[in-house]
């Protein structure tokens, strides 16, 4: 006596038995919309946005107050830098959470079951994060412009619109680079606290505490750091001067440095992370 063999599949019908007519492939735009929603529908998302909004409002109030009380002259270029700072402080965490929360909250199970082509899901996340980065910069610029008008009204000084296009573009590029660095480190580490810690050490702590000091003191640092640190590499392109404020003749090497540091901190971790995610067993 042996166990019963199961009923074999009906002979002659080896083909597809699903009614595929009821669904086309999932369009990429839909995945982006879903990832955008997932980014801002949780408490962490709402808090990050609210705190950043609060910081922006605070910056606005302080600038108008200081300018009004001291009769300073402000210009659009200075203001745009003032307003992009609060954004670059907290919002790159979105780029991290959008990836790592899939692992920490185990939503990857549902995400990769509904779209088994994992690279498409990660691509949709990349687009959603980039869109958020650009959108928040635009908000900052609008607030900056508003502040400029307010300051002029308060002080009676003439309005100064000196923000040129290349500066604006490089500001957006550098913001985007930091958002994407967060995303890239998240892909590589797949761990929220780890990715956030590494991100802030590389993007904030080292530049402020170490790189700027080294850059100011040692000549070799002026040659080496722009090849290692995104911020050091991008600063001349954004402002026309280097980390310590000395004017720089922007050369092809500056573009090379900018490109290379982005490859180093965005391209490389994304590639390694993607390689890992595509092979990972999702539990």
């Amino acid at each position: 006596m042996s166990t019963t063999a199961p009923v074999p599949p009906t002979a002659g019908t080896p083909g597809v038995t699903l009614d595929l007519s009821k669904s086309g492939p999932t369009p990429f735009g839909r995945l982006v919309a879903v990832e955008w929603r997932k980014m801002i529908d949780t408490r962490s998302g709402i808090w990050l946005l609210s705190i950043t909004g609060g910081l922006l409002a605070l910056v606005m109030v302080i600038i108008v107050l200081v300018v009004g009380l001291n009769d300073f002259q402000v210009d659009a270029a200075g203001l745009s830098q003032g307003f992009t700072l609060p954004i670059s402080l907290l919002l790159p965490v979105f780029g991290i959470l959008i990836v790592t929360s899939e692992w920490s909250q185990r939503t990857a199970l549902a995400s990769f079951t509904l779209e088994p082509h994992r690279a498409r899901v990660l691509g949709a996340k990349l687009v959603a994060v980039s869109a958020l980065a650009v959108a928040t910069i635009l908000v900052a610029l609008v607030l900056g412009a508003l502040t400029n008008v307010l300051c002029a009204a308060v002080t009676g000084n003439p309005l100064e619109w000196n923000l040129d296009a290349s500066e604006l573009v490089w500001t957006i590029i550098s913001q985007l680079a930091f958002f994407l660095m967060g995303y890239a480190l998240a892909c590589l580490l797949l761990n929220t606290p780890g990715a956030i810690a590494v991100y802030y050490v590389i993007a904030l702590l080292l530049p402020i505490m170490l790189w700027s000091t080294l850059y100011a003191i040692f000549d070799w640092a002026k040659d080496v750091l722009p090849w290692i640190d995104i911020n050091t590499a991008l600063t001349p392109l954004m402002t026309g001067s280097d980390l310590v404020g000395e004017p720089v003749d922007v050369d092809v090497v500056n573009y090379l440095q900018a490109g290379w540091t982005v490859v180093l901190w965005v391209g490389l971790p994304v590639a390694l992370g993607l390689w890992r995610i595509l092979r990972a067993e999702v539990k």
């Binding site: 199961p6 086309g24 999932t26 909250q105 939503t107």
Partner: protein, 312 residues
């Protein structure tokens, strides 16, 4: 139809799923039974492309999972009801699923109503859900895309008795309408009332498969009878003389023989029976014996299939 074809999944030296083959047919509920760690969940994860197989393959309706366009519309799966963002509300979780599949928002309300989650409950965050509520939400998520194949890993886990009965009715109706249902469990009684076909798995290998009757018949060698009489002592000695092994059990006796044999012995001995029934290896015994490593080899008549016996 789900076709598992010589599937093996190994982690280093450990083989979680070992040459498993079976078919889950449309219009039937297939129960996937085995103790914890037997390889059920791993097999189910391979089905939906979350775990890469070491060798072998799984096809659903003739296609590999990743070749099914918008697979949520064809295959509904619930692998782990807790694997959703704890900070999202039940409604939001379903909304994201519906968005991904390109379904109208109204589908979310339909599914919430179907699984019996109230508006108030749907508005709560998942971290405040009981396990039973998570299971209902997970079943709603699996059914969102109106799929023709359902893959449910331990769906009854955490449901109250009324919930289990409700789910039984739901899946039965689903299969009656032509759907393919594969559900796993480590609890036999959850499955035996609903499954048309059962796959028993232990230590990564299929140890038996078939419908309930066939499985029981295959274990007939171990049949026992429970008997109570007005003179248990007299009957026991008569049975022992007839060569049957007897042991007291409750108010009566447990005899290693068929009911017919016990009846004949008692007739010959002139003992009045008050209760005679087959205590034959119930599915529970069979299940335990088949899936425990040491006992498996000892069960007479139940061979371990070496190739699974399923045509590819």
């Amino acid at each position: 139809m789900i076709t598992v074809d010589r599937l093996t999944v190994s982690y280093g030296g450990f083989t979680a799923v070992d040459d498993v083959s079976f078919v889950a047919q449309p219009g039937r509920v297939t129960g996937f039974l085995g103790p914890n760690g037997a390889g059920k969940s791993t097999t189910m994860r391979v089905m939906v492309g979350l775990t890469p197989p070491t060798s072998g393959q799984v096809t659903i309706g003739g296609l590999h999972y990743h070749d099914i366009p918008n697979p949520g519309r064809h295959v509904g799966s619930l692998l782990d009801a807790s694997a959703q963002h704890a900070g999202r509300t039940g409604r939001e979780i379903l909304t994201i699923g519906a968005m991904t599949m390109g379904l109208p928002k109204s589908r979310v309300d339909e599914m919430l109503a179907l699984v019996g989650l109230t508006d108030d409950e749907a508005g709560r965050r998942l971290r405040n859900y009981s396990l039973g509520m998570k299971q209902r939400l997970g079943i709603a998520h699996a059914l969102l895309g109106d799929p023709s194949v359902l893959i449910l890993d331990e769906p009854a886990n955490g449901l109250d008795p009324a919930g289990i009965r409700w789910m039984r009715g739901l899946l039965k109706g689903y299969a009656d309408r032509g759907g393919t249902v594969l559900l796993s469990s480590h609890l036999l009684h959850e499955v035996e009332q609903i499954a048309d076909e059962m796959i028993l798995i232990g230590h990564g290998r299929i140890v038996a498969q078939g419908d309930k009757k066939t499985l029981l018949a295959s274990a007939a060698g171990a049949a026992t009878t429970l008997v109570t009489s007005l003179d248990n002592a007299g009957l026991a000695s008569a049975l022992t003389r007839a060569g049957h092994s007897v042991e007291p059990m409750g108010e009566g006796l447990k005899v290693l023989a068929s009911t017919e044999e016990v009846g004949r012995v008692s007739l010959a001995a002139g003992v009045v029976l008050t209760d005679l029934r087959s205590g034959g290896a119930g599915l529970e015994d069979l299940f335990l014996e088949l899936t425990s490593a040491t006992a498996r080899e000892a069960v007479p008549g139940v061979g371990v299939p070496t190739t699974g016996g399923v045509p590819a």
